[in-house]
């Protein structure tokens, strides 16, 4: 029989973009809700954002099945942490855990591109950005996923964060107010949806602040 299928691959890229912005006392985490495979849209309403701890939210794009497995893994580890320490994990601790979890599968990686946003133990906004095998860095803002090449330079231009090479080290949190940050996130996603076919349908925005967590939605292009 003639082989009709291309060689089988255990991976797929389901697309989507993730953004996180840290402020002095808040953090904004956002992602679109489109899930694609190739030129197909599988569903227009799939959340890429999950709350891992009280003050720690992850947005992930890439291969949905791997992201799902990664999430389950982190939930389980966090549950054990809660039982052992009787408290929620801090965002920087979760950030290290996520890095270790990704690197643990260095030679059969989770094909997932994550940004982790939250509040650190002082209540300051923090963002951690990753690659698929666990390299990570604390930054003031970041973008991952299919639209990141469009979004990241836009954020760089608008936020002009101090270089990480400066000595003494300068604080990376953005000078924006919470309202301004949410507005910026809406703008970058509306822009990315114009050119990136894997980004669109709906934008989900999570805002973590001292008063708690808040969710917001905005429609994006559906084509």
């Amino acid at each position: 029989m003639v082989k009709e299928q291309a060689n089988w691959s255990p991976y797929d890229n389901n697309g989507g973009s993730c953004v996180a912005i840290a402020g002095a006392d808040y953090c904004v985490i956002a992602a679109d809700t489109r899930m694609s495979t190739g030129y197909n849209i599988l569903t227009r309403d799939y959340s890429k954002i999950c709350q891992l701890a009280d003050k720690c939210v992850m947005a992930s794009s890439g291969f949905q099945a791997d992201v799902n497995a990664l999430k389950k893994n982190l939930y389980a580890k966090h549950l054990i942490y809660q039982h052992q320490h009787n408290k929620q994990m801090s965002c920087p601790a979760m950030a290290q855990l996520l890095s270790n979890t990704l690197y643990y599968k260095r030679f059969f990686p989770y094909y997932s591109f994550n940004v982790l946003g939250g509040l650190d133990s002082e209540g300051k906004g923090c963002v951690f950005t990753y690659d698929a095998v666990g390299s990570y860095e604390r930054v003031g803002y970041s973008s991952q996923g299919s639209g990141s090449t469009l979004i990241m330079p836009f954020l760089d231009n608008q936020l002009k964060s101090p270089s990480p090479l400066l000595l003494p080290a300068q604080d990376a949190v953005t000078p924006l107010s919470e309202v301004e940050a949410v507005e910026l996130v809406k703008t970058v996603f509306a822009s990315a949806a114009e050119r990136d076919i894997f980004t669109g349908d709906k934008l989900e925005i999570v805002v973590l602040g001292a008063s708690g967590i808040r969710r917001e939605y905005m429609d994006l292009r559906k084509d």
Binding site: E4, W8, L42, F63, N68, F108
Partner: protein
């Protein structure tokens, strides 16, 4: 992994089933699939049932490798039997079955030995309608309407236009028939022997197979190249 196991992996499918289309409607879930089983481009089997009830609250539809689907049915038989033997009055709902299948499919892809299917899981339990999908590498999601294979190209645009939450049974069947007719016209591996199944709070019904009325006299069918003039 021993060297003998290498030859036991599914590297490509042999006998395959075509699209499954499913929607939520007022009282539950409706699903449709044809009964063809293709051996490459040969129509090898003509009476394969690809819609199966699982337990009391779930309906499963499958496209892709038929033998893998039948293996999945054996897994599910064992799952439902074990659940029954607790005799505690609880039973697995569609959400649990979907979750189980997601784990099975993802686990097999992790072993580089996939079950070559796209599965559609529908059901109703405690007044909650449920409709989801999972494919051979473990991608899974829920939606108000889903379709596998070519159905994702040809049926879902129709569903996005015409579907709504309060479709009656008759309207739902009509909508599915419209989708299956388009698939019959344009999917070369589709056959005109179709099954529709419904699941509601009352239970599952797989209706007997039927044929769609077709009309092949459209001028575009008779002379498809009329508006596409080329050098050959």
């Amino acid at each position: 992994m021993g060297s003998g196991a290498d030859s036991e992996r599914t590297l490509y499918p042999y006998v395959t089933g075509s699209s499954v289309v499913a929607i939520k409607y007022k009282d539950g879930i409706l699903m449709a699939a044809d009964m063809g089983g293709s051996y490459g481009s040969t129509l090898r089997y003509k009476s394969i049932e690809r819609l199966k009830p699982i337990g009391k609250h779930t309906l499963l539809g499958a496209s892709g490798e038929i033998s893998d689907f039948q293996e999945i049915l054996r897994f599910l038989d064992e799952l439902i039997l074990n659940d029954n033997m607790w005799d505690d009055g609880n039973s697995l709902g569609p959400k649990e079955v979907h979750n189980y299948l997601t784990r099975v499919m993802y686990n097999r892809r992790n072993k580089f030995n996939p079950l070559w299917n796209s599965l559609v899981i529908g059901g109703v339990k405690n007044g909650q309608k449920y409709l989801g999908m999972v494919n051979m590498i473990g991608i899974n999601f829920n939606d108000n309407h889903v379709a596998t294979g070519l159905g994702n190209h040809l049926a879902r645009p129709i569903l996005r236009d015409e579907w709504n939450e309060n479709l009656t049974f008759e309207e739902g069947v009509k909508l599915l028939e419209k989708c299956m007719r388009v698939l019959l016209y344009r999917d070369r591996s589709a056959v005109n022997k179709i099954q529709i199944a419904k699941i509601t709070e009352e239970g599952t019904t797989v209706f007997p197979p039927f044929s769609l009325k077709t009309y092949w006299e459209f001028s575009a069918f008779k002379n498809p190249a009329a508006s596409a003039v080329g050098s050959w």
